[in-house]
Each structure stands twice: as C-alpha cells, then as structure tokens.
C-alpha cells in the first residue's frame, strides 16, 4: 500500500469529508456570497489572513474549495485556486509573476486564446512574450532573458498535437532559475503528472476532460510548491513585502504555497475571476469519473485513429501515438497511458470537403469545445484559430484543411459508422 490514496480514489473523495451536521454524502452547493463572522476577532482574522476560512465568494467558497483540494490532490500539488476558466487561470499566473518590463518565453504550439493573451494583451501592460517552436530547445534556451519570469507550454499542443519534451524544458528553466508553467488541460492527471517532471505551476481548463460533460466552464491554477522563489531576486511579488497585510512576505510566511497565497490575496481579491459554486459542483461530478472516462477516451481514440488512417477519403491523420508523429519517441517515454483523445486529420478535397464532412456528421457535434463525453469536431482555421495569422498557424503546426476531432465515449462502432457516412457525403461533394 502506498503512503497516500491513488488517483482513482482521490477523484471520488479528495477535498470532502461529510459534515457531521448535515451528513450530506455529496458535496453540498454553498450558493452564497458571504459568510457569518463568529465575532470581531474572527472577522479581522479572515481579513488579515491569520487563519483559514471563507470571507466572500469572490475569494473563496466551501464548494469551490472542495474542487480546489481535489485537483490539488490529484495533481500532487501544495494548493489549487479554482477560477472562472482556463484563460482566467493563465491570466492569474501571468499577472502574479510578471509585471511591466518583464518577459515570458512560450512554446508556439498553444491554444489560440493562450497565444492571444500573451501575444496581444499582455504587451499592452508591458509584459512581452517570445514564442519558440517547442522542438527547438536551443532557441528556447536562447530566448530566456534576465527579465524572463517563466517558461509557458502545453504538453500536448492544441490543436497541432505536438508533444513537448518537458524534461528538457525543465532543465533549461532550472538552469535559468525560473519555473515552468504548463497548461495541462489536454493530459489531465490521469495521463501525466507535470509536477513529477519538475513543472512548477499547472493551469487547467476544467471545462474539458476534467469536468467532461460540457455543462460548466471553469479553470484552475495548481501550485506545485516545488520551486524555490527565494533562490534569486526575480520574483519580488512573492519575496518582498506585499502592499497590504502588514507587508507580508509570502515566500517567508507560506513557503511552498507562496504563489497560491498571492493568487488568493491579490488575484482573486482584485481581479475577481471566481468560479461559481454551482459550476464547481458540476465539475466535481465529472471529476469523480475522470479515470474511467479517460480509459474509454483513449481506447476510442486509438480505434478512431486506425479507422481514419485506413479511410479512402482521409488524406492524413495526426495523433501523437502514431509512429510517424515527429514526437513519437517523446510520447513513448512520458505518456505511457496514452497521448490523449484528440486527433487531427485532413479530408481529401480540402476546405470544401472538410466543411461538407463537418456538416454531415450526426453523432459528432460541431462546436467549440474539446474533452466532452460526446464526440466533437471543428475546423480550427475558420474558428478557434481564426484570429491567428497564417504564419503563426503554420508555426503552430496547423493547416487549412485540418479537422480537429475530440473523441468521446460513444460506442466505437456507432462513431465509425457516423464518420463513414459523413466522409461519403464529402466524397460526393468533391466529385
């Protein structure tokens, strides 16, 4: 027996012990804005961050806290802060670590909104980002400057499905005395544990596989607690006196959880990207079955890869487990349980055929999401990545004819039949 519960158990239990008073086995939804103070001392104690508790739901909430503690447990972190979306999570990390005049290095193989935030929004506030291809590690190392605050990456790039050699990226970051921040949405703790590889901060879109049912938007910042913020003078937001709370030094007072405490004290307090308690509840229901769902996602994805590879109307298929994928060796080393349930493929006949295919599927849903229990398809060039330039699209490994497929949990035979009939429609359009 290991010292701590396994992932399957944590997915069901972590963060919640039924309270003695109500006895509710399910996590209760605390749909409230605020919380009664016991007395004046208790009120002051919460405002001063003297002790734990809830003050106002913009900052924390008991239902949301269960979700946070569950995600922290599953990822093996020291703490987690849930927020309104995955984008809110990246914004929180960026603004807590970087200030005007600072710099970020990022891999270019990212979700379009992540690129937009770093490339277009943050420069208006004086934070610049250098984007580098995730496979060009020499360029990545060379891009790090004295004012670089972190390296940002996705393990499995969205939607190009490039897989990063994260161990080498962590080596580069360690040498520079900066942390690696990873958007781990596509892998989830079922497939990959970033902190075990030296990543220091995880951002999640909980909307995707973690929630898994397409009913609630949510995000999370998970703090690995494995980065020594005091090793140099690069992180004054954590290692010098805070503007409030009697000039608290988060690193000295909270050590491994310094970033989380800053996120809570400034990020949630001043920006307010809070997650609603009801959304936290919905996401928790999804997380309970994450390990079982991921098994099925992976087995269905593998079957769909085989099906598409052998279909006469499919011009190419991209999945990290395929031997011709450029990162195949990395995948074998770091993703032994599977490389996710996303597939990229091209329909013969280009954009017109692709459009006909997407409009003809009956089981698969055409929409802007991934990681749902239901199978989803989209054409990134005209939707999720429409704000990205053609040059950046190419750099991100995307092509105009690409269909992004998020494989769901349906009967694999029904899925194949649906795709087969839709591909036949595409064939007729091309002829």
């Amino acid at each position: 027996m290991s010292d701590f519960y396994d992932l399957d158990t944590l997915a069901l239990h972590a963060g919640h012990v039924p309270d003695k008073k109500g006895g509710s086995r399910a996590v209760p939804i605390h749909q409230t804005t605020s919380y009664m103070f016991e007395d004046s001392r208790h009120a002051a104690a919460l405002y001063n961050m003297e002790e734990g508790g809830h003050l106002y739901t913009r900052i924390s909430n008991p239902t949301v806290a269960v979700l946070e503690q569950r995600v922290a447990a599953m990822e093996g972190g020291v703490a987690c802060t849930a927020c309104a979306s995955g984008m809110a999570a990246l914004h929180l990390v960026t603004t807590m670590l970087a200030s005007a005049g600072d710099h970020i290095v990022s891999t270019a193989q990212l979700y379009g909104a992540n690129i937009n935030l770093l490339q277009n929004t943050m420069p208006r506030f004086g934070v610049e980002t250098t984007f580098v291809h995730g496979r060009d590690l020499e360029a990545l190392e060379a891009a790090v400057q004295d004012n670089t605050k972190f390296i940002f990456c996705e393990l499995i790039g969205n939607p190009g499905l490039d897989v990063l050699d994260i161990d080498r990226v962590v080596e580069i970051a360690n040498k520079a005395g900066i942390p690696v921040v990873m958007d781990a949405t596509f892998c989830t703790p079922y497939l990959f544990k970033p902190f075990d590889h030296g990543v220091s901060v995880i951002t999640h879109s909980l909307t995707k596989w973690m929630g898994g049912h397409g009913v609630a938007i949510g995000g999370a910042v998970v703090d690995g607690g494995n980065f020594n913020w005091g090793q140099n003078d690069k992180f004054p937001t954590l290692t010098s006196p805070h503007y409030a709370l009697d000039g608290i030094n988060f690193w000295e007072e909270y050590g491994p959880a310094a970033l989380t405490m800053r996120v809570r004290a400034e990020g949630m307090y001043n920006f307010g990207p809070s997650l609603s308690p009801t959304n936290a509840f919905h996401i928790l229901q999804g997380i309970e079955t994450l390990p079982m769902r991921m098994e099925r996602h992976i087995s269905n994805a593998r079957a769909m890869v085989e099906f598409l590879k052998n279909h006469e109307m499919v011009s190419w298929v991209k999945h990290p487990e395929l031997e011709d994928h450029p990162d195949h060796e990395t995948v074998k080393r770091i993703l032994p349980k599977g490389a996710g349930s996303m597939i990229g493929f091209g329909v013969k006949g280009g954009r017109v055929a692709g459009s006909a295919f997407i409009e003809s599927v009956e089981l698969a849903s055409h929409l802007a999401n991934v990681g749902d229990a239901k199978t989803l398809v989209i054409h990134p060039a005209s939707t999720t990545h429409s704000h990205i330039s053609a040059e950046d699209m190419k750099a991100g490994g995307l092509s105009e004819d690409m269909i992004r497929l998020s494989v769901g949990l349906e009967s694999i035979e029904d899925l194949k039949a649906d795709f087969n009939q839709a591909l036949k429609v595409a064939a007729r359009v091309v002829r």
Binding site: D3, E50, G53, Q69, A73, G76, V78, G224, E253, T260
Partner: protein, 264 residues
C-alpha cells in the same frame, strides 16, 4: 525576521508584524524535519492578538542556515541564545512534537525564562524506530513520505482543509524539501536520544497545557497523556479526529485552546 547567530543566518517568523515593546513573547518550536511553516496559522493569529511572535527555523531548517543541531539539549541551548540575542527575558513556549522536548529541556536549563508551556502532539520522550532513522539516512525522500503520511490524520488524507484549496499532504512534503539534506535524520536521532523528559516534567512549576491528537501515529496519545499526568499545573485537551500535525490539521481549535491558556 532574520538575524545572525554564531555566524549563521537565523529566520524566525514574526507573523509578518513588528515586535512591540511591552508585549509578551510567544516562541513556537517545530518538530523533526519540519520548520516555522507548520505554525503559519498560529504565527499571524497571535501576532495580531497582542503577542510578539517568534516561530523559529532551527539551524538547517528552511530559511535558517548552519548545521542541524544534534541533540534536544543543543536545540534548547540555541533557543536560549536566540532569546539572549533578542533580549527576551522570558517567554511562553509552544512546542510541536520534537519542539515539545525542546520546551522541556529549556524549562530544565532556564526555568525562570519560561512563563508557560504549551505542548502540542508531544510527550516526555519520543522513541524513534531505528528503521525510520536508517531510512532517513539512506533514502531521505522515502522517510519524508512515510512521516508525512503517518503525521496526518484521516481528514488530511481526504484533503479536507480549513485553508481553502490547500493540500496538507503536498505542503508537508514540500516543506520538508526546503530543509538542508541531513536535517531529518539528525532531528530523529536527537529525538530518540532525549531521555530525561519525565524527570524534568515532574519538576516544572509553571502553568502548562497539553493538546493531544486522537489519531496521532507519530506520538501516540498514551505517551502524551503520561506527560500530561506528570505535569503539576496542566490543562489537557484531546482532539479526537486530528492526526499528529495539529497546528495545520486543527488550527482553529488549537488557536482557541492557546488563547484560553494564555489569558488564564
């Protein structure tokens, strides 16, 4: 607060508040392999509550440099030096686990400088399994994992927490990583070598309080009760559902016990 002592940097959390002349002193001492971080929910609370707080990192622990001290008596001498350096005539001592043994030793060496003592999840002697010491020497990470697991009660293993979003498991493991290599086995051997606790406890005349945990696997409650029975002016509290790491597992309850004890 950082200062130099014997050529090494010493860190002691003041709860991020300046000490105020005339306020009583409260010195928190951590256990084996731990640091001031275990007191993060006490240091600020009592710093705002009218006390000059010092939650120290013993040498080689977290932000204090130097070599780990090899005996409980040496740790007691070091605390007395810290008090001398900061011109603290007397203080209330709060010790968790091994820190409780240090409280006993200070009471033995400098009883007039001790106003009250709060013993938290501790005993008059804490025998340490030889296997744990040898594991700490040869596979320190394995020992840290075992100690974190044994040191936390059932709610902490379920990641139930009074601080929203926190993992006591994760914080316990990572906080130990901040200590210098070798600090843990040195602490464990110091703990195992302290044998005079019961005789010292019988002589203590100042008010004391023992807060013990019903689910304590590191220092089983029966040993803590022996200490409580031996102390002359003691108040005993038992937190039935807490594990060994009371300051983080039951901080609100512990803080209330401490407030009542300090104001009595």
């Amino acid at each position: 607060m950082k200062f130099q002592l014997d050529g090494h940097e010493v860190y002691a959390s003041t709860g991020a508040r300046e000490h105020i002349k005339g306020q009583p002193y409260l010195i928190f001492m951590h256990g084996a392999g731990s640091s001031h971080l275990v007191w993060s929910q006490q240091s600020r609370s009592f710093a705002y509550g009218g006390y000059n707080v010092l939650a120290v990192d013993f040498p080689a622990h977290n932000l204090s440099s130097g070599d780990a001290l090899q005996s409980v008596e040496a740790q007691a001498d070091w605390i007395i030096k810290v008090m001398d350096h900061l011109k603290i005539k007397a203080a209330t001592l709060v010790g968790h686990s091994q820190g409780g043994l240090v409280c006993l030793s200070i009471a033995d060496k400098a009883s007039k400088r001790v106003e009250k003592i709060a013993f938290v999840a501790t005993a008059a002697a804490i025998p340490v399994n030889d296997m744990l010491i040898s594991t700490a020497e040869s596979k320190e990470n394995r020992a840290k994992s075992s100690m974190t697991s044994w040191g936390l009660g059932p709610d902490a293993h379920h990641f139930e927490n009074s601080v929203p979003g926190f993992s006591q498991v994760g914080n316990g493991l990572r906080a130990m990583d901040l200590n210098l290599e070798g600090a843990l086995p040195t602490d464990l051997k110091a703990c195992a070598g302290f044998e005079d606790g019961m005789a010292i406890a019988a002589k203590i005349e100042c008010p004391t309080m023992c807060v013990l945990a019903g689910k304590d696997k590191m220092t089983p409650i029966k040993f803590g009760k022996k200490l409580a029975d031996t102390l002359q002016q003691n108040t005993l509290h038992v937190l039935l559902n807490s594990g060994h790491t009371i300051p983080v597992e039951a901080p609100l309850e512990l803080n209330q016990f401490l407030r009542d004890f300090l104001s009595a």
